[in-house]
């Protein structure tokens, strides 16, 4: 008799690797083991069953009640915890990488998915982990590459326009646009940046000056500054793709910045800072640590 457990493990192994990691990696396991301790049951195989679709999402609470004799409240607690911390992140990963479950999507379908993501989940996508961001970056590159021969198709410009009109709230602190109170939406932050720094291509030094000195940005928390910097950089990378791509070797191309890659950029030599290789946040930290003014930072720039 074929062993049901090994059959299910084989099916799990056949899932896309990022999904296996999201559902079965250490971060997920910690949540699973906490629930196991709390309810004195084993949940590992059950998580595999849901991951491979042997159980559907609507079956979860019924399964837990029937198999372990749990109360409806306990089953709901386990389900909600897993949805928030294990299955939810996996679903978001698939949302960002639709080719994981639908590898044969047409370019038009892929474009539609990315447009929807930028319209509805832009803040979440920019804040997502490196796997998701890398997946989105690859998809955008693939679509642009497929349209290179057609001058009328400008996917990156269409995405830049979506960002420019995005009404999602980006930050939480009070915000003023052209002297009047306004909602700190993505669209309004871009308007503020363009009003102060112009609508031409901007480098990281201009960006860091804006983050350090502008009335709206200077009071943000470090996390919100990072989010704002990533949003403005994404807009620049799309709007001025040709200029950005020309400055960076192909292996370094990205639309949405990946944090862990950025953290590798070192400060070179004592008192000789390579600002072009530093993130705005790093430049700001450097400036604050050394009491540098924006003018000092400009002079140090190589």
């Amino acid at each position: 008799m074929a062993n049901y457990i090994t059959e299910c493990l084989k099916k799990f192994k056949a899932l896309p690797r990022p999904v296996q990691e999201a559902v079965g990696g250490f971060a997920a396991l910690e949540i699973i083991q906490d629930l196991e301790k709390k309810y004195q049951i084993k949940l590992g195989f059950f998580v595999i069953l849901v991951a491979i679709g042997e159980l559907m999402m609507e079956d979860i609470e019924g399964y837990l009640q029937k198999k372990y004799g749990l109360s409806a409240e306990a089953a709901a607690d386990i389900n909600d915890t897993l949805q928030e911390n294990v299955f939810g992140p996996a679903i978001e990963m698939v949302a960002a990488n639709p080719e994981l479950i639908a590898p044969n999507l047409t370019i038009a379908e892929q474009k539609k998915n990315i447009f929807n993501l930028f319209k509805e989940k832009l803040v979440e996508t920019i804040s997502a982990d490196s796997n998701i961001i890398n997946g989105v970056n690859i998809l955008i590159f693939n679509i642009i590459a497929s349209e290179l021969a057609d001058e009328n198709l400008m996917f990156e410009n269409d995405l830049a326009k979506i960002i420019l009109e995005n009404q999602a709230r980006l930050t939480s602190k009070p915000f003023r646009l052209l002297g009047k109170p306004a909602e700190p939406t993505i669209a309004n932050w871009l308007k503020d940046f363009i009003a102060k720094c112009g609508s031409d291509y901007f480098n990281s030094l201009i960006l860091s000056e804006y983050l350090i000195n502008s009335e709206n940005a200077k009071n943000l928390s470090a996390e919100e500054k990072k989010l704002l910097a990533k949003t403005l950089t994404l807009y620049r990378n799309l709007k001025f793709f040709s200029a950005t791509a020309a400055e960076v070797p192909m292996e370094g191309w990205e639309f949405i910045s990946v944090d862990e890659e950025r953290s590798k950029t070192p400060v070179i030599n004592e008192n000789n800072y390579n600002l072009e290789n530093m993130t705005p946040i790093e430049i700001k930290a450097l400036g604050e640590a050394n009491n540098f003014t924006a003018e000092d930072l400009k002079k140090m720039s190589r």
Binding site: N3, Y4, G25, M57, E92, N116, E120, K121
Partner: protein, 215 residues
């Protein structure tokens, strides 16, 4: 009643997310008019990640609304579960898992096999210790000499020990050959599963299944 089949289809349905940003409007679109009901169902779908059933949930709620009955989330979900084979899937999964743990041998035969496997595979004791360490969050007593590039967290070390133990069990149970009986075959098949790129969850599931089979 529809019972969905096919792992690829079900996996894709469980993880489908094209509708994740739109739950409210599709419920209205299915015919539900009451705003509060629509919002309650939309939030329930978001919380329980039932995106693949958004249209069906909307249709069931609309049918209840039109018939003049009160529309509750529990009521709608009861209809959905009945209509789309939830009980069948739950019962089938529980039954198959149970059958996988109990080989079709007599009780005495099973007892003999267990005794033989435990007696002749000394690594079974290691497995039980490693599983106890994992459950209690304790690290191994003796630090491992891990190779370069291996993450050095306690959890990684616990899983390295588990993988090593499962490999040793697999070797020993193969040496036992036919002497291990059906239980030996089962353990052989299970202990072969952990691979270099297995996730911790897979390793844990294998170790637990073996531990259960000899308990």
């Amino acid at each position: 009643m529809e019972v969905e089949g096919g792992v690829a289809k079900n996996f894709a349905a469980n993880f489908r997310s094209s509708a994740m940003t739109q739950t409210h409007e599709p419920i209205h679109g299915a015919g539900v008019e009451n705003e509060a009901t629509t919002e309650e169902l939309a939030q329930y779908i978001q919380k329980k990640k039932l995106y693949s059933k958004t249209a069906e949930i909307g249709q069931e709620a609309a049918a209840l609304e039109k018939s003049g009955q009160s529309v509750t989330t529990d009521g709608v979900m009861a209809q959905i579960k009945a209509k789309y084979g939830s009980d069948e899937r739950v019962n089938s999964a529980i039954q198959k898992e149970s059958e996988a743990q109990v080989e079709p041998a007599g009780e005495e035969k099973q007892k003999e096999e267990k005794q033989k496997v435990v007696a002749e595979i000394p690594e079974m004791g290691d497995l039980i210790r490693a599983m106890n360490d994992l459950k209690s969050g304790r690290g191994p007593d003796v630090p491992l000499n891990l190779g370069k590039g291996t993450l050095n967290s306690q959890e990684m070390r616990q899983f390295n020990i588990l993988i090593q133990t499962l490999n040793n069990i697999n070797k020993s149970v193969r040496d036992l050959g036919a002497g291990g009986g059906a239980l030996g075959n089962n353990i052989k098949e299970l202990s072969r599963r952990p691979e270099k790129n297995s996730t911790p969850l897979e390793i844990k599931v294998v170790a637990e299944a073996i531990e259960k089979s000899i308990s």
